[in-house]
Symmetry: C2
Subunit: 607 residues, 2 copies
């Protein structure tokens, strides 16, 4: 259906100017909303949007901002009545929402945000203001050209006192003309390195008046007398960010799976050398691409599992529910911070490795890999900067470590920390053939790193070892992925279970090898063992190479979806590539260049 | 001068469409040629072009292709008379040249090229043909829209026999109309991920006739009787590629130095956290940026030195000269292959690290870092694929190793290999404070890796260890850089010598630490020593941070040159950034989007 729809399926997307990309993308948002309404089930709608988001990353962020961030903030932070007021408007696209948190000068450390919302009791209203250039709301998706509304994170002032950050619904543009409302200065932030169809914007507020009821009041309330009831925890303001992060982890799996499909298919067709071997036969290629393939499969499965777990959680409706379910959210927060961080970095490195493995043809936009990477790259910082998130993750692990040390009950995600303090961890350093052993090696490293972190904390030197602190979450991350994947495949159908176990074992060994320096440094593996592991990784890469094509085929991306002629399913890569290139629109401008610049130049001289 | 010139100095370069970028760039090429002629000295001309190339990477490749590749091929492969015929035409831009080596299906392994040049004795001419789609010349810079000529690498057929690859001058377009000449099918390859101002093209030849004298005949000759004298070594056809690689190494230093300037300045101004610390104070930042800064400085100095050495070499004019100077070229070839490979990979990783350190604002094209990285990225494969080059470099090291082992005279670049076989290398594993000791550690690793490579070769398992083989050149690379830099600063003025020694020592220690896994695996450094080295690297980063701003200032890039408001010299970053963004031309299209899409949408419903 999407394939046949001329608004959705634009094959020559890379030939568009930014202006064309913008127009295309908002048209798609509107069109999708119309079509989604024709579906009978919510599941169908969700699937439909998931495919569109995986297909186009500008669409993804536009939709994610409107429904995901704007919508979720209203739902999670607003009272039932507030959400009811907006629900239909959001779902039917009768307003277009945006999410105004970041400012030009302030981002990860939100507490420094400058935008103010000052309560004016006499008018039962707030006045929103941007006090300086650095306080300009910045990067706000959909605000650039299209949003009619935003939820803005502001410092709440009541009677001259700062009550911290809260969310406010602020209308931005007139719905008939699109012109900014009084007091709103707004514009588009212009050219970005990726996601050209997305209109990120900047906003400045100059005495913008909104009714008191536009403050989102599920957890904190302000009544018309000016009496303020703060939320139990200020961290609640960030609840919508957890969903966003889970979405990002899924998107990470999708984007890399698209690239690895293109990379593997190309590498199995492209030949080099005197015997015309496919370049996929070179060990350098196998060593770069096979671990990416295995990791992508693991991440695809685990991110889906994670998102299902999240969806079964109920957002707390009351203060009491909130307090009782707090730990679960903290768990999700800790886990997702670490997963988002490491898989995001891994994704960037993987897409770069795939780009290099393709060589020159990855430099063409028509083969998509570099564009996917550019579109993705914002996500190492957007949705929470990875360095900052991994620090938060490290806090989380450390505090669970300390709880476990004292014999307390750590959170379920850190269930195995208690083993660190039982008599011995039964690891067998010389064995790495079984997944169970691999899991133990990872655990050992988690423990060893946390011991060091604890010592640093005691010595007051964490600041001087921030790099190590961030790294202390890595082994935890890969352990989690392996264990969660292993759980999932235990129930897989027996035909493919063998392949999946092999894949899991390879995944584990590869990531252990990626941390081999730490293992050796701590005296866990010897140099000789490190060499053996390296050889086994090479061997496993070679073995996986035999199944590489069926495995990427199993992602099930049709050719129109990948938009990359060098990655077509049937392997007949050069003719469609040539056809796409030879009809490139830029050729239409050649004659103009000659008339204006070259013919006059050459008429001066004679050959 | 360039700053004040409206054709050269375009600040809003990132707002241009591809079409505009193309037109801008060819106009610059023409304008530069006119201006260059007004300079009295060659040195002035060279400096002028160097600045323009560093300023704009599309210009860089256009000029590089015309003068560097097209021009050098004519000069290096043509007879004196042939070069004389073209010299003025090239220098005065009376023709526009291109360099047609790569084909759609064939690249690093050029011997598989399909384009043929068949000698037709009766007509004293060649007929050039593209036998298949995969034989289409591809990526050819300037061929897309502007080149009038090319030098094409073709399989030479004489009397039905293939005499291997040779270069032929082929006219492509009519100089008056710009239309392709008979038998030439030509076009632009369209959208690329970077260098939008450069017109890469594809070419197909259909029975294109050129006179016999269009074959470049310095080293191999064909007379009108059809008697063929082959070149002493077929590798000679690739001589122009050495200059190209040296140019690329210099460009690597330039591009990273631009990015690190922006990254460091931004990080010293941007604040975060409750105490408003500059983010440059975080160790994670220091650990990412300071090694890049040190390496960039080292590379800047060493690449300049290398290029000076190359310029003093005389291209061999006769067969005898060629044979006698062969080893020197081989040396350059081996060395440059390795340097281009490792510094190219390092550059990509560094620009990515800088991008991450800047965070969201690096996603804006207006801050240049991501664009510089996209422009650069082709160079991990262009000018010789890095994996392939490092393999060639490894061959080169291995053969010098074997010569030295037999007591023979290795090439000067590998002068220290003989020490590997003298009684003992006097390394002190526990010491790493002096540059001399650091150099010894690197050497030890070169030796140890080559020993393993030799054993693999004997066992016939190099293929199964290609990754290791490629890696075996890394320690050599960083040893070379450190030693060459050290040599250079020995004569530096005493005021800055202290800083430079410290920088060199830090550079050495950092890169040793980057290979610490290998050192530990081979039992050279212990885990404890590895930990000590890590701590010292952290400390050195912190120390260098104090000088970070003066050091990046010493690259001497004026603001107009960097085109990155978040990296301005005076640190007042936000106002110019806001000004640039708030006048982004995309804002002009907002009203059209409302008229066409949004106003009609909202008129359907009422809020
Ligand atoms: C913007 C741009 C401008 C260019 N300009 C020109 C130009 O003006 N003129 C011109 O002639 N060419 C030009 N080129 C082509 C460029 O020189 C080639 O892209 C380059 O030579 C590398 O080849 P490749 O990566 O395309 O292909 P391949 O050689 O096919 O390499 C593909 C992949 O296979 C791997 N591989 C190949 N061989 C081996 C091996 N033996 N062992 C292990 N791995 C291997 C490589 O590492 C790479 O990852 C340009 C390219 C671009 C993108
Ligand atoms: C395309 C795009 C779309 C976006 N959409 C939206 C949107 O719709 N709404 C919205 O509100 N925002 C949006 N953002 C903003 C985005 O969420 C921020 O960019 C992100 O929160 C990270 O902040 P930062 O990197 O910009 O800045 P900073 O937090 O200033 O970080 C800069 C650098 O400092 C480092 N750093 C910061 N603090 C620490 C610390 N404590 N310790 C160590 N290092 C530190 C970081 O690692 C990073 O390298 C968007 C951004 C982009 C680029």
């Amino acid at each position: 259906m999407i394939e046949k729809d001329s608004i959705f399926n634009i094959q020559r997307i890379h030939d568009m100017t930014t202006e064309q990309a913008r127009e295309k993308c908002i048209a798609q948002i509107i069109h999708a909303n119309t079509i989604a309404k024709t579906f009978s089930s919510l599941d169908q709608q969700i699937l439909f949007y998931k495919i569109l988001m995986a297909f186009d990353s500008s669409f993804h962020m536009r939709f994610g901002v409107h429904q995901g961030l704007f919508g979720s903030t209203l739902r999670a932070q607003g009272t039932k009545e507030q959400w009811k007021k907006y629900e239909e408007l959001v779902l039917n696209l009768e307003i277009i929402g945006s999410f105004a948190m970041t400012e030009l000068g302030h981002s990860s450390f939100l507490r420094n945000c400058e935008t103010t919302a000052t309560f004016v009791k006499e008018e039962d209203a707030f006045v929103i203001n941007t006090p300086s250039v650095t306080g300009t709301k910045w990067w706000i998706g959909m605000a650039g050209q299209t949003a009619t509304h935003t939820v803005a994170l502001c410092q709440l002032f009541i009677g001259g006192e700062n009550q911290g950050l809260h969310w406010f619904v602020v209308p931005l543009r007139d719905r008939t003309t699109g012109l900014p409302l009084p007091g709103i200065k707004i514009g588009d932030v212009g050219e970005k390195i990726g996601r050209p169809g997305l209109d990120n914007g900047w906003i400045q507020f100059q005495n913008v008046k909104i009714p008191r009821t536009n403050m989102l009041m599920k957890y904190s309330q302000l009544d018309s007398n000016g009496t303020f009831h703060p939320a139990p925890s200020p961290a609640l303001a960030y609840l919508p960010l957890i969903s966003e992060r889970i979405g990002i982890i899924e998107c990470t799996a999708t984007d890399v799976s698209k690239c690895i499909t293109i990379g593997v298919r190309f590498s199995c067709v492209r030949v080099a050398g005197p015997t015309n071997r496919p370049i996929m036969d070179f060990q350098t290629h196998q060593y770069q691409l096979m671990p990416i393939l295995a990791t992508t499969i693991v991440l695809t499965v685990v991110s889906r599992q994670l998102s299902q777990k999240w969806e079964t959680l109920k957002l707390p409706e009351t203060m009491e529910e909130m307090v009782s379910s707090g730990p679960i959210f903290q768990d999700f927060h800790g886990l997702c911070s670490i997963l988002k961080g490491w898989t995001g970095w891994w994704a960037m490195e993987s897409m770069e490795a795939i780009r290099r493995c393709i060589g020159g043809h990855a430099y063409s936009k028509y083969n998509s890999v570099s564009s996917i990477s550019n579109d993705f790259s914002v996500l190492t910082t957007g949705g929470g900067d990875n360095i900052v998130l991994c620090q938060q993750g490290a806090h989380y692990l450390l505090s669970n470590y300390l709880i476990s040390k004292k014999g307390g009950a750590s959170s379920p995600v850190c269930y195995y920390f208690k083993d660190f303090f039982s008599k011995s961890m039964d690891t067998k350093k010389g064995e790495w053939a079984s997944i169970d052993q691999l899991l133990l090696h990872f655990k050992w490293l988690v423990k060893r790193m946390l011991e060091k972190v604890e010592a640093m904390k005691k010595a007051g030197t964490l600041d001087k070892n921030l790099t190590f602190y961030v790294e202390s979450t890595k082994s935890f991350c890969y352990h989690y992925l392996l264990e969660a994947f292993y759980d999932e495949i235990k129930t897989a159908n027996s035909e493919i279970q063998g392949v999946l176990y092999e894949l899991a074992a390879f995944f584990g060994l590869y990531w252990i090898h990626s941390m081999i320096g730490r293992f050796m440094q701590f005296g866990y593996f010897s140099g000789e063992q490190a060499e053996q592991i390296e050889s086994e990784v090479y061997r496993a890469c070679e073995k996986l190479r035999q199944n590489a094509v069926p495995l990427v085929d199993s992602f099930n991306y049709p050719d129109w979806f990948l938009r990359a002629p060098i990655g077509v399913y049937d392997g007949n890569i050069y003719p469609p590539y040539f056809n796409l290139v030879s009809t490139a629109p830029i050729n239409d401008s050649t004659q103009a260049i000659w008339r204006k610049h070259l013919s006059p130049l050459f008429s001066r001289s004679n050959l």
